[in-house]
Subunit: 150 residues, 2 copies
DNA sequence: GTACATGCAAACGGTTTGCATATCT
DNA sequence: AGATATGCAAACCGTTTGCATGTAC
């Protein structure tokens, strides 16, 4: 919950306000294991405060992003957010079947990045890197249904 | 221009029509070095046939995709298309500065894919793989402008 | 002649903006 | 009190759909 106090201090320092909506949205994003899309945040927020508008969710998340409190990941045509953690940068894998997001530790991309830079003189933007694919769970489900077994 | 005759035969075989719009759109996509987004195709098409509608471009490209004539690449929130070439599968690198698209030979992803499958049991969907980043040209331009040079 | 394709308009889904009202400080 | 945030409505942008007209076959 270190993020909380730090984020709240940042808000104060900028002369911005600590509103219930902002605290709620921050708590929701912080409670997720991985990134959540805007609508997921919105739905969860409505459980606590039914009057909240999705516009507020968008604006608040963009504000937190600007403050470095959360980071944004675009997946398909949806924006996702997670609490920023500069100590453990990572990329994401998203399952095309179940839409689940998984963290991808950066070492998996090191050699890839290195060869791109060295051989193709292309500097990949790993801050916004996401691989889609099929996760082990869904691959198993699929092979089970194909063989008719469980 | 092999793609042409093959595509046209495929259309006929399916009882579909060879319209001027379809031939125009195919020729435009085939003329590009790499993938083009829908609006680029549309603009070029209007030069030859000003009455064409962007809806037709979308529908035609989707049809060609279904026939295996073109392949679709989603970049950001835009769809891009290129002539399908099953003989040389590749992925893409897109420069965030100039938006130029470059082909990425598959060998650059082999080790990456292998470690994902082996160690994380995640099968990446390399058919829809795109890395964004900064190309060498734009990196050079940037460093020049930063040092006051050109 | 008939089925299929086109153009146009309207809908769609995610996101952003304008503005009057409400709220934090 | 005064500046900032919110809710609501409307705009936006890329893409898709409905439908009457047009055209390839």
């Amino acid at each position: 919950m270190l993020e909380y106090t730090k984020a709240l201090e940042t808000l104060r320092a900028m002369g911005l306000r600590l509103t219930p909506q902002r605290m709620l949205i921050l708590s929701i994003v912080a409670s997720g294991n991985s990134h959540m899309d805007v609508d997921q945040v919105f739905q969860r927020a409505k459980e606590s405060y039914p009057y909240i508008d999705i516009t507020t969710v968008y604006r608040t998340l963009q504000l937190f992003k600007k403050l470095g409190v959360v980071s944004e990941v675009a997946i398909g045509n949806r924006l996702h957010f997670e609490v920023a953690n500069p100590e453990s940068p990572h990329q994401h894998m998203v399952c095309l079947v179940c839409s689940e997001a998984y963290d991808l530790p950066p070492q998996y991309l090191e050699e890839f990045r290195h060869s791109l830079v060295q051989e193709l003189a292309f500097e990949p933007d790993l801050k916004n890197f996401t691989v889609t694919g099929v996760c082990s769970q869904c691959a198993r489900d699929k092979s089970n249904s194909e063989t008719g077994g469980f």
